[in-house]
């Protein structure tokens, strides 16, 4: 069952990457739905059955009944099924402020060199000129207060920018010490960024560093989809593809309707290597 898959899409690939990081030794705060929630739901069905995660509505450690109806990733009973505790938003924020949240998992529209997060506006903020999005939601609390934050976004030039158009939720702001100067708790901050093509960490200078790439792209392809040149880890790793088991669970139990995964390009194993499928 742990056979490497030969046919999957970018979205499934990135969900499996994050899912494998998740460990039931830690407490996670999962932002919204999408890839973050799918990653955690998958982990709970794979190697981390006792995984505890927290959602913004103060739900602690649910054993969610999937699949969800559209948008019903919080408050609704299937999302909050068999939880350990039901609270409210201030309770979730208190837990993070106290230091209980080891990892936050978030999706973002745009990220910059310092891991700052934009979910507010693309383009100019003033006067409604840019394209407006939803705002930080719960991501600000997660990004400010979780010990480590895992971000997921797409590998696109317009999403990896030198400076985000608007800092909705804090990364390292403008470098070492900036978070503390703005009143955020010490020892917290960005930890990883995942895209369907690459995994990034941060150097001592608080700036993004490519640590691994997917087997179906080259480093040049990844760099071409960034608006700035990041540091590159001395030993670049190759990310492992999803297994048949992960995909089966994801497709048949979690994202049955393809709400999250039915986007992105397909990858196939052909002539001894992984490549984008022609379809």
């Amino acid at each position: 069952m742990s056979t490497p898959a030969t046919d999957f899409n970018e979205r499934e690939f990135v969900i499996c990457q994050i899912s494998r990081l998740v460990d039931d030794k830690y407490i996670y705060w999962v932002g919204g739905g999408g890839e973050p929630m799918n990653s955690v739901l998958l982990a709970k069905r794979m190697g981390a059955p006792n995984l505890q995660y927290l959602t913004e509505d103060g739900c602690v450690g649910p054993e969610a009944r999937v699949p969800f109806d559209p948008l019903m990733t919080m408050i609704a009973s299937p999302a909050n099924y068999r939880a350990l505790q039901w609270g409210t938003m201030n309770y979730a924020a208190d837990l993070a402020q106290l230091g209980y949240v080891d990892y936050g998992v978030l999706a973002t529209l745009q990220v910059d060199r310092y891991g700052n997060i934009n979910s507010t506006v693309v383009g100019k903020y003033e006067g409604g000129e840019g394209r407006r999005f939803g705002g930080p939601g719960g991501a600000d609390s997660i990004a400010a207060l979780a010990w480590r934050t895992i971000l997921v976004t797409d590998q696109q030039k317009r999403k990896f920018v030198e400076r985000v158009d608007f800092i909705s939720s804090p990364g390292f702001l403008d470098g070492p010490g900036a978070r503390e100067r703005h009143g955020l708790p010490p020892g917290t901050g960005p930890w990883r960024v995942y895209t369907p093509w690459a995994m990034y960490g941060y150097g001592a200078d608080c700036q993004l560093m490519i640590q691994a790439i997917a087997p179906f792209v080259t480093l040049e392809q990844v760099l071409a989809e960034m608006s700035f040149k990041p540091a590159i880890a001395p030993k670049l790793e190759i990310l492992e593809v999803p297994t048949e088991e992960e995909l089966m669970i994801l497709r048949t139990q979690i994202d049955v309707g393809g709400q999250v995964t039915d986007r992105g390009r397909w990858i196939e194993f052909k002539d001894g290597k992984y490549t984008f499928a022609a379809r």
Binding site: G58, P70, E129, S141, S169, R179
Partner: protein
């Protein structure tokens, strides 16, 4: 305390003494019945220019029927607490009811940039939990509350927050202005006629909203006896003296879910989201708000008994919700 930095935006005036006086003079300290219709509750307790908070949202145990009634009555110049919400802010702005929004998270779409460009709506930036913390401060009767989040963001610049040197630790700390809305609307599972109410499952800030707001309208799926409240007081989420109106609203969160009672209607959710993403609510408002006079008429004529039975049937989880 030394102020290190300040947000530059307008915010609802902070006045804890004024709020205490309002509690003394206007809150119903005596147990009196507050049962009334949607129409009467909104006519009496939602006023043009009010700061309006609603708990949760149009899709998840939110006061959807009361939001539709506010639109039907064409209230004006509301200032919204836009935390943890999808379409409600869009509906209230696009219908001409609201012109200011404190944003934690809202459902977006072309309507919002257009409303800002045309100066139909002014936006102030916060985050979801920053807004619920502001309500918590409002619910404690204090003027502000410190937090260790939100610092360093661009949202901060467009907020009413301040950063000071903490007099105890000497480190920078953010202060959020307390929020005491003029009116809150909250949808609950059960309430008695006086407004003692139960919310089952998770929530956003229903208890804080009730305590922090000058006027409070509850809509309830079920009206229960006070004897039932007294049988299990630990389940009381909201006490009667914070409440001004109790409206019986079965399926009040439609097209959203009420945990343990009914599931959401995915097609109803998609219809509202679709209008929002297209940036045109004309048809939606006509069909779901203006075509009917009451919530009962909405359920029977627009939604239909078959749909209601279906969403009731699809909610199969009872654990933790039903007393």
């Amino acid at each position: 305390m030394r102020i290190l930095e300040e947000g530059k935006a307008d915010y609802l005036k902070v006045d804890p003494d004024g709020y205490r006086a309002c509690v003394r003079d206007n809150k119903p300290h005596q147990m009196v019945s507050k049962m009334m219709t949607h129409k009467e509750a909104v006519e009496r307790f939602v006023r043009d220019g009010d700061y309006l908070a609603y708990d949760s949202n149009y899709f998840q145990r939110g006061p959807s029927s009361l939001i539709r009634e506010i639109i039907r009555q064409r209230k004006k110049n509301l200032w919204l607490c836009g935390k943890f919400t999808y379409v409600a802010v869009a509906l209230l702005v696009e219908s001409g009811c609201a012109d200011r929004v404190d944003i934690g998270f809202i459902g977006f779409g072309p309507w919002i940039s257009r409303a800002v460009r045309e100066k139909k709506c002014t936006i102030y930036e916060y985050s979801n939990a920053v807004m619920t913390l502001r309500l918590k401060a409002g619910a404690m009767g204090i003027p502000f509350i410190p937090t260790r989040s939100f610092g360093g963001t661009d949202g901060y610049q467009h907020s009413g927050c301040k950063t000071v040197e903490d007099p105890f630790t000497g480190k920078p700390v953010l202060l959020l202005p307390a929020l005491n809305p003029d009116v809150s609307i909250i949808h609950v599972h059960q309430a008695d006629e006086f407004g003692n109410a139960r919310v089952f499952g998770t929530g956003i800030a229903h208890a804080e909203c009730a305590l922090a707001s000058k006027r409070v309208i509850l809509s309830a799926e079920e009206i229960i006896d006070t004897e039932e409240i007294r049988r299990d007081p630990a389940r009381t989420s909201i006490a009667h003296f914070t409440v001004d109106a109790v409206v019986h609203a079965p399926f009040g969160a439609y097209p959203g879910t009420v945990q343990g009672y009914y599931a959401s209607d995915p097609m109803g959710v998609i219809e509202a989201m679709g209008a929002m993403f297209r940036g045109d609510f004309t048809e939606y408002l006509k069909k779901h708000v203006y075509s009917v006079a009451t919530h009962d008429e909405y359920l029977s004529k627009v939604v239909g008994t078959e749909k209601l039975a279906e969403i009731r049937r699809r909610e199969t989880i009872r654990e933790g919700y039903v007393s």
